[in-house]
Symmetry: C3
């Protein structure tokens, strides 16, 4: 954990397992025990390496035996204020593959939770029953608010337009597993770079690995200035483009996001660019042989299904990598990794 | 598995446990490992006997100890695009009684899954997290589409007006357990024979056991011609009737389905026949002493609750038999039976 | 169990583990095995002491190890016809902390269960899959109706304006754990005493422990006459008040409930009294040092969050105590406590 983690430190009442041991940078045993996972900003390079090492162990374990009993007897509250089948299922599967149990709360809109109870009271209620909380909420900062009152670890599974740290971690982990390395790779982020919290988080993590970014988007959907300023400040090599053809031949990772027609003020502007932001088998001919194609999913039509059989299409493997990262985080905050 | 199983064979990437062993007819160990369960058409007589033997073992096990750890560490994705408490709960209970875990996805209408993602992408997402998928969908052929892309076994839990194979299997298993045999029994299918996929599937399986069918329905709700043609082709002895009284004294099984008023063009036609399609204690006086009364449930008023205490009323036991059949299928496709 | 338990006795077909052993008063081993939990009226003093002893053991167990495998292999049907995240989650967590599994049915409004199937048929369906049923329903008497047909134990998790026995039990258990005793304590029930089934049930249990009641409410929201008559008949010392200030200095427990503006015929009447029914840090200055503040939750604004840090505020601990009580009841009706 970086020391400037903005109040995302250990939960109240959880004693440090070994106060004398170094917790930041050089990791002690179970360095994340009792911590909240709220933002990618709380991770330094050593933290990220640690997460990915544990996630890789989880991958190996699942490949070999499917499940273990590391979290046997532990209970996860999977609290989703807005539906997200993908993320919710991923956390649930992660918990049960570690031998734990899940109390899933997804019908929030119909329940007393929705009838005026504050997020804080709901969180304090659920932590009375469980050992760790995963929270998806439509408001920016919801996970941080939960963490203020929670005595059990809170994992942010997306807070509105805010953060979705486990998505950013799984994206990096996918690159690491697919390419064998993260340091010095070149990543093209393509599509709607204005609205996607996923690409913002990913861009902000680039500095830890010397990643070069190629930012490819319509002019209306450029990466926001504050993210660009962060890249400059961190010394991340990057460039902006309108046309994917300018960069595709030189990337290690092609990371697609969806360009929605509704985002354009002028429909003609959408029609003019949309071809650049759809991947077809023809596009794939320009992608280097060892590069990979990623997508946070769900996709609509920005990657043709004819690309699915291409071995460089990593998006289905990316989904499995997400489960391994979430297994790692659950085990870590519960002090078992 | 019959060799004409229409592409419902083994999932991609699953090696045959023993290629030299016979898989069809005379069964090898775990003959269904890695197979999809899509249609009753994929089962031959030997397959059915095998399913029923395993289901009977499951019944014995549940009676004796309630649960076992046969599928410990395995994870089921229970994906229901339309609600079905009965079928969903049955599969969930089946999985946990075998020691496995369930990720239940039932709020599909609210989730990203509903926002334009294809069934194929959703299936490939969920199989990344889990070991087996149960799918209920409103479109005919949905399960077959899922099976084309899935690398994990898919079990069809009902695809619109298409198939609901586990219901047909549990119906046959109920007859076997209740009467002690399937060969040569006489079954009256009663009520709406036009719309019910359940009675269609059951009729099509009759040929494997020399079952005689008495088809009792209003003229507007006759068994469809294509099913009747199949019966003729397969040499299944059968006859059509309007009046249950003509056949009730000679049946081993009285299988009721609901006659809905809305299905009639002419309300007078409904009024004229409805008395024949409601079972009361008085009707039961005509049913042979060793026969059984079945119903796929839910019922509305086509069987009076006053019949529930009659020992020949098998419909609640039928529900439990459904769980044993689903336990058998889960264990089988996961290679543990 | 009291002998006048109104048909809430043992489920059909469950043999008494030892008919010679005393079951009422002086408890034999597993005295609640196979019983339904429908109403607080079925509990005598010895029953209550037994429940609380087991619940205290559950508290100790959770504090020490989190979970045990007492109900390994058992399956709970958690059937909620109306949403209640708190109660549903509490029962689910209770079951999994005992090593059992849960089939949660909460989308009842969308399912076949909602399409005309009777409660009785749904219950008989779910008991075919599971070992114990928890039922929340909007109609008074629903749990009792379920118990008539169920061969597995039914636990009432709230039936409309009827009973919510596990809430009353957890309220008493909280007092016992917080104060170290129940006998002779003085409890102020404050707020809307007319509509709350929680305060009605609590009041009716007071007689078993010589509890003195202070009933503080607006005149429009007085405790109903039938409950008051029961108090008189049982010899429970009690008094009615409009103003909390009259009693706060002399209570051991301050039990708040919500006063809703909509309950008043005359808005002016609401405005005149609302100040008396909101707890602030200033109010807390008048509460004795060893007293506790409780609330059944959810709260809206009747207890300021500024009171949360006061050690006498027991409402979040009360939530955890609810899980221990439900663990106790599940273990008891399944014959493991």
């Amino acid at each position: 954990m970086s020391s400037s983690d903005g109040g995302t430190g250990r939960t109240a009442g959880t004693p440090d397992p070994d106060p004398a041991a170094p917790r930041f940078g050089a990791h002690a045993q179970a360095p994340f025990q009792g911590h909240h996972i709220l933002s990618v900003k709380q991770f330094d390079r050593a933290d990220l390496d640690y997460v990915f090492r544990v996630a890789h162990d989880m991958r190996t374990m699942v490949d070999l035996v499917g499940s273990i009993d590391l979290l046997h007897g532990k209970v996860l509250a999977n609290l989703f204020y807005e539906p997200s089948t993908r993320t919710s299922s991923s956390f649930q599967a992660a918990m049960v593959r570690l031998g734990g149990s899940v109390v899933a709360i997804s019908e929030v809109r119909y329940s007393s939770v929705a009838k005026g109870e504050t997020l804080e009271d709901t969180v304090r209620t659920l932590e009375a029953y469980t050992d760790v909380l995963v929270l998806r909420h439509h408001e920016v900062g919801a996970a941080a608010r939960a963490a203020v009152v929670a005595r059990k670890p809170v994992i942010n599974a997306g807070d509105g337009a805010g953060e979705h740290p486990t998505q950013a971690l799984l994206d990096l982990f996918t690159i690491r597993e697919e390419l064998g390395r993260l340091d010095g790779v070149t990543v093209a982020l393509v599509g709607d770079l204005k609205h996607g919290r996923t690409v913002h988080s990913l861009a902000r993590l680039a500095r830890h690995f010397g990643i070069t970014l190629r930012l490819v988007s319509p002019v209306d959907l450029r990466m926001p200035d504050d993210v660009l300023a962060d890249l400059v400040e961190a010394g991340v090599e990057h460039s902006e483009h309108r046309d994917l053809a300018e960069v595709i031949g030189g990337v290690d990772v092609l990371y697609m996001t969806r360009v929605q027609k509704e985002r354009f003020a002028d429909p003609a502007a959408y029609e003019a660019v949309k071809g650049s932001y759809v991947i077809t088998p023809d596009t794939m001919r320009h992608l280097p042989a060892r590069a990979v194609l990623m997508h946070p999913f769900p996709r609509v039509d920005e990657i043709h299904t004819a690309c699915d059989a291409d071995p460089r299409s990593a998006y289905f493997r990316q989904i499995a990598f997400g489960m391994y990262v979430r297994m790692a985080l659950l085990a870590m905050v519960l002090g078992r990794a």
